[in-house]
């Protein structure tokens, strides 16, 4: 992955609007967060291969970045994004890595389902 270039990301998001996509969206503090710090409230979620078509979307912020996608009935929102790539399978992968390089959030869009 490489650091996000917001102009290129915006072009990519615009090119995906209206398409039937599969989404992987995830936030995580890691399974050891509370073990390492008892006062830390650990929360996270992931959803993989939910189908989504968005009407329009954009990237905002000065880095880390936010992405919002408006759908007919609702929204997808992600914040804390730092890196991205379009991989060899044409999947658009965004991730947010913390100061230690650990993944804190992932937002991924693909026209084909991700492997289960």
């Amino acid at each position: 992955m490489k650091p996000i270039d917001p102009l290129k990301v915006q072009e990519t998001i615009t090119s995906l609007s209206g398409k039937k996509l599969y989404v992987h969206l995830e936030t995580t503090n890691g399974a050891y967060a509370t073990h390492k710090n008892a006062s830390f409230f650990s929360a996270g979620a992931f959803i993989r291969n939910v189908q989504l078509t968005f009407l329009h979307g954009s990237i905002k912020g000065k880095g880390p970045y936010r992405i919002g996608l408006e759908t007919e009935l609702g929204w997808l929102y992600a914040e804390g994004l730092t890196d991205w790539e379009i991989d060899t399978l044409d999947r658009v992968l965004f991730a947010g890595h913390d100061q230690d390089g650990k993944l804190a959030i992932a937002l991924q869009l693909s026209e084909q389902p991700f492997p289960k």
Binding site: E26, G30, H35, G101, K102
Partner: protein, 224 residues
């Protein structure tokens, strides 16, 4: 000396931290070791330093790292169960218990090493240990292997007491470090500090690389 050792863990690298020295002591004795690894650690947060993985490339990278770790450990029978990281407790437990039982019946281990259910911090660890215990409970008492369980939750000794199996693995400390290093995407952020602490004879680092502690799991017929 054991007849056959079966190791069951959910994530590549679980075999490195708490048990690598013990596994090496068995494989050095020519005791066959079978390792069931339930997932490929697909949902790990560590992506290498510098970043070498994405959420989608991480499984393949960790699979290769696990192959290398098994080579260093002398494990020739590695079984992938193809499950997804974080989902072990949610999968069909009956199916998982039965798959583990089939492997136990096939390799007929005298010793099984897994996590202590309820005291192993990560939900996948606890679920793995619970499934292994329930698989063994399906065997007649006389055919049940011994279980050495690994626990590390903060409160574990208050409840289950101190570990009764203390393995001195000092002879394997450098090999154990290599096994940890093989899981590069996961350990790159800590391995240099650990090596340095070990060389300086830091108490925690020395303990980590020279002593491995287990609890013999009391297998009766209660559900873990």
């Amino acid at each position: 000396m054991e007849r056959h050792v079966l190791v069951v863990f959910p994530h590549p690298d679980d075999e490195a931290f708490g048990v690598a020295g013990t596994i090496l002591s068995h494989t050095t004795n020519s005791t066959p070791v079978t390792y069931i690894c339930l997932t490929l650690g697909e949902m790990g947060r560590n992506m290498g330093r510098p970043l070498i993985a994405s959420r989608e490339t991480l499984p393949e990278i960790r699979k290769k790292e696990l192959d290398e770790a098994c080579k260093l450990l002398g494990i020739t029978d590695l079984r992938h169960f193809g499950m997804r990281d974080k989902t072990v407790e949610f999968t069909d437990q009956k199916v998982l218990i039965d798959r583990i039982l089939q492997v136990i019946k096939e390799v007929n281990p005298s010793l099984v090493i897994t996590f202590y259910p309820g005291y192993s911090v990560h939900p996948d660890h606890d679920a793995t240990g619970a499934a292994v215990i329930q698989a063994i409970q399906k065997l007649p008492s006389s055919e049940r292997p011994t279980v050495h369980a690994l626990a590390f939750s903060k409160d574990c000794e208050d409840v289950i007491g101190p570990p009764d199996v203390i393995n001195d693995v000092a002879n394997y400390s450098s090999n154990k470090l290599q096994v940890m290093e093989a899981h590069e995407s996961q350990t790159a952020g800590m391995i240099d500090a650990l090596k340095e602490a070990f060389l300086k004879k830091d108490e925690a680092a020395v303990a980590r690389l020279t002593v491995e502690r287990f609890w013999t799991y009391p297998i009766h017929n209660d559900r873990p």
